[in-house]
Amino acid sequence: MVLVLGLAVGGPACLFETREDQPPDDSSCPVTILNTPDAVFEAMEEALERCQQDANYERALSANFVFSPTLTDSLDQDFIGTGAFDNWTKEVELDVTNSLLAEARSLNMSFSPSRLINQNTFVRFRVPYTLDVVTKAAPGDTAYYAGVAEFDVRNEGGNWRITFWNEVETVQGKSTWGYLRGVLRLRG
């Protein structure tokens, strides 16, 4: 009786053998599954705030990614005539993001998305956001950024990715993330 029970619990090893797992890789961040439109915001927070790596951020951006600043930012005296926001592609966005990560000691951000357009493979979000940056150069100070952007998110082969980051509103008393982008790009 006990033998039969033991066989049931132990089970034939070949039948109930689990697969070998891979030890966790300290250098990599958990991969955010981009199976819903909202997952892009989780991927950005995971990449920039928690991991301070651009891997998940890169995955959240479409190859056709485009960024557009607010009219206020594009006409700002710091950027007039500089072409700071010209031809803003995915490569430019990743370069600027890496500059931000290199300078930042910590990042804290929040997104509050609501859907403006909800289609089969396309969603447009209106997203009030905040970004708090503590730099390595001045760890005692925090720079606060805020704004409102529209995010176009498309399903590309099963993954939802951002195709267009369109800054549409500024917040009284704070610079936008777009302004920070322009500054970082000009700094090279």
Partner: protein
Amino acid sequence: MRVRLCCLLLVIAALLQSTAPRVARTQGNIQDLVKNPDSLRALANKQATDSLSVVIPRWLFDPVYNNYTEATLSYYGMRNEMNMKLVMPWRSLVNFQLKDDEKNYRLQNRLEKNKLMLMGVVQPLRSDVNASFTYSDSRVFNRSISLGGGIQDLVVNDLSVAGGLNYNRTFKDMDVGSVRLDAGVSASANNGERAYKTDKTLAGGVFGGIEYKFSRVTLTGRGSYRETDERSITALTTLEGLGATEDSLVAGARVQVTDSSVISVHHMDYEGERLYADQRRGSQGGQIAGAEEVYPEREVHPARRTTVSMSSRLFGRFGFSVSAYHEFNQFAYDTTLSRNSAVTTDAFAGSADYRAPWRSTTATVTFEGGTTYNNLLPLSTASVYDYRKLVRVAISHRFKPTLTLDLNGSTQLLQSDYLNKAENPRDRDQLDSSVSARLSSVPFSNFLAFVSASYTNSLFQNISSTQSQNNRTRELYELRPGFSYFVNQYLTIAQTYGISIDYTQYKYLAASSQDDYLDRNFTFNNEFKVKPMQKVDLRFLYTLLVHDKGSYFSDVLEIDQRDNRQETILAVDYRPKDEFRFFGENTYSRRVEEGIEEGEDDAITTTGSIRVGVECNYAWGDKGRKLNVYCARVKRFNPSSTELEKNFWDARSEFSFPF
């Protein structure tokens, strides 16, 4: 001339014999069926299938009025129903229902109103043919008002008429076996109103089936076809040319190979295609966002399933059964591709049972397994193969009539294998093994004792290096003794004890955000049931839960949570008459969460309630007339409850009056 006249009389007599209703086998049938709200169709079918003729009274009118009221913490409301059944001399069966239901919610600003008018007629045309007609008008209105004042209405008004013709007959005692046939046609028209659209639908369908029995073989087959034509009207547009077609085919064979062995095969095939007015943002999309969220959608839904099974009792003490099936179920859409899914399942199951020659030991072995492929392409990376294997053994041994031992053991492996591992690296395994034993004893006629022990081991393992940081093993030990002691007719004592220890160990502790931990629980339940007088029942229940939890490294336990909870229930029941009782109940709970850090105070939470009331269940006459009333006043104390939740009436009534 006389011969011709005799022949004519004989023919007329034969015709009368064949058409005249035979005497009912059971006179009470129609009475019983008419009392049943769903009896009309049942009676018609019964007449058709059994070729049963009954003596129909000239008229039978059976109206029933029902009234229900309810007032609880969350809502109060009333439902009124009028059900009328009418049997006519020409055997028409008419059912007429009126319902009105209203609920007002107390804890939120919400109102629900439901109304229904239904009329159904079933007319037996022959012993094996009947016609039916149904008219239905149902109205649903729900209104909720949010805190900000926003009004949200849900309107569902459906008006429909339907008719059908059914044929159902069994041919028995034929030379080639027996045959059962059924067939039918149906048609309906429906007008469905929603807050944002109106659907107008015409539908028609045919169905039929045959069952053929001969020797040791039974063959069955069924087929059906249904088509609808639909129009959907919104404030913005009219969607024409909508509709659906559905057809299904079912075939089966059952062979009694030997007296103790049966093999059966069953196959189902279904094809459905519909073009309909869908709505974005989930099923409430149009309800919330309006007519612009309504769009035409095409859905294709094929499904099939084939099952093969066999069962056999090789000899008296040993039997087994095995079965296997293949299933495919697909939903494909033209527009909302993200909802596409195709699920393919191949599974098997089997069991064997054995009873030992000495008859006091029985054993059962069960095994199950299968593969499910969930294909969500093209708009999802979550397509996955799921594998499952299970073996379970149950052994029961009776040492003597008053002492029994039950042993159970099982192992189950679940595995998920994702198609796109780069974008969805969630491959995982879960292995669960458990063994348990329960010993039950009745040493004295008024004393029942038992003890059960179990051990469960669960392995949770993610495969990818990006997900494996929390891979862990969980071990759970449980010991639960208890007894029930029926001291005498006035006193019963029941006690149960429980100890459970949960130990979770992480495989990659350095990478994990968690620590290995130990979670321990001790529970004690003690219940006294006292009957001091014939009409009085008292009940006292005391429950104690002691719990702690903490990190566990190298046999060192660091407690970071310790709490205990004590609960009592004291209830009294006084029943001066069989139909009437007064009751009272007091509950009290005290939870203490001990402060672990130095200087940290204990957090104490006490809750409780008092419920006092009366219940009456009164029936009179022989027609089922009754009045049931329950009414209680409830007072509760709970730091997190609102004032409304602390003091309320809990009442309900049911009044039923057959005329």
